[in-house]
């Protein structure tokens, strides 16, 4: 009986400290249990609420960036016009290209990538782990692990969390971001990462020292991941860090996407993701 009383007395005296430890423990639990693959239940509700507020704010902010948004859309449009079939006219000789009708996209059988536009409502650039929030979510066909690019075909990031009407994208400027990329000129592949210390600079790792690299070389997606098609812009080589102890280069890369004024992005849905994934699973289980 006396020990019971002592325990109660102890709790009463140190209740503030115990309460402090409880709140601290709660924060730590949330901090270390939330990561890329494990999504907390409250993030869905919180995403809807913060998304709504961000949408209202973006409605105002959007006007100040109309000119820049317009410029980038014009640029994207010009690039698309240049790809129109009527721009390529081959003299009517034996070299005329014939498209095999079997592979024509008439019944959507051959389509691999589907692009879905979305409005950016929030993004950050100067934190250690940066996220972009989009006003398009699970009810509009977004699922986690889809790739995201901006209007000029440069990689922005990967969808990590989805609520009913909003999606959270892990931007390339995120410490857990890993993207398989390739030097456009030489074709050497490596991994693009972000260290969170120098804002706005990506690192391309695992490039063999045999490769010839120059400042300004283009880095594109390799197509090895199932999120992005081949050849999308990632960035441009800034400089090369020569680590003498290693057999590979680490290259600093300026990202091609302008993270500071993102207004519209495209989400890439890989429609043929299932089949190779299942095949790989079957091989691994053998």
């Amino acid at each position: 009986m006396k020990t019971m009383r002592n325990i109660l007395l102890f709790i009463r005296i140190y209740f503030t400290f115990i309460f402090f430890l409880f709140l601290m423990g709660l924060s730590f639990y949330m901090l270390f249990s939330y990561n890329k693959y494990h999504h907390a239940a409250y993030s869905r509700v919180a995403g809807e609420i913060t998304g709504n507020i961000s949408k209202k704010y973006n409605g105002i902010e959007y006007y100040f960036q109309l000119k820049r948004t317009n410029d980038s859309l014009v640029k994207a449009n010009a690039a698309l016009y240049n790809k129109l079939k009527q721009d390529y006219e081959i003299p009517d000789t034996a070299n005329k290209m014939i498209i095999d009708t079997l592979t024509l996209d008439s019944i959507q059988q051959q389509r691999k990538y589907l692009y879905m536009p979305a409005k950016v409502v929030y993004n950050s650039v100067n934190l250690l782990n940066n996220y972009v929030e989009l006003h398009r979510g699970g009810q509009q066909g977004i699922t986690p692990d889809m790739g995201v690019i901006d209007v000029n075909n440069s990689v922005v990031g990967t969808v990590v969390d989805v609520s009913n009407n909003y999606a959270v994208v892990m931007s390339l400027l995120h410490e857990q971001s890993n993207l398989s990329a390739r030097l456009k000129k030489g074709g050497e592949t490596g991994i693009v990462t972000y260290d969170g210390k120098t804002p706005g600079i990506l690192y391309l790792k695992d490039i063999s020292k045999l490769a010839k690299i120059h400042q300004g070389d283009t880095v594109v997606t390799s197509g090895f991941s199932d999120k992005f098609p081949r050849g999308l812009l990632v960035g441009y080589v800034k400089d090369i860090l020569n680590d003498k102890s290693s057999s590979t280069y680490t290259i600093r890369v300026n990202p091609a996407a302008n993270f500071e004024n993102l207004q519209y992005v495209y989400i890439i849905n890989n429609l043929q993701k299932e089949e190779p994934a299942q095949l790989l699973k079957k091989v691994k289980s053998k």
């Binding site: 709140l23 601290m24 924060s27 950050s124 100067n126 706005g200």
Partner: protein, 177 residues
Amino acid sequence: MSNLVKNIVRFCLLILAQVYILNQVPPLHRLVTPYIYFIFILWLPFKMGRRTQMLLAFALGFTLDCFTNTYGLHAAACVLIAYIRPFLINVLISQEGTESNYYEPSIQSMGFTPYLTYVTILTFIHHTFLFFLQALQTGGYFYFLLKSLTSTAISLLLILLIELLFVRKQRFRTNTI
């Protein structure tokens, strides 16, 4: 304006300023990430209960975490400074009865030097703890120590500007002991 309404307005404005202004500006330098939202905790009334302070600090940090998708990071730092705050106020208050004569900490109620010490220490603890938690995930401890020092300097500059721009008039409440 009643004090409750004043604090609610403060909470919302500081969160919005942090999320939509400070987190949006292009990075000044790789060592600088300014924070101002936590002055809500510094400006809480003297007489508020310690558990209420911590609960409010947790709510503030968690609200910011919802916007930046870092659940628990800012909440932990805020709870820590809310826990330390009463001890610091006890040490720094020089005059007898300041806690009962004035409503909340400010230059006017505490005096310039004690108030500056109070703000500097809590800002430094907040930043160091925040960047330390980030360093646990990424490594690079020397870098984060340097980062907390420079970020503290810039944040202090911003807080000083806020103090100069938005003067908080404090009524001297006599005979309230």
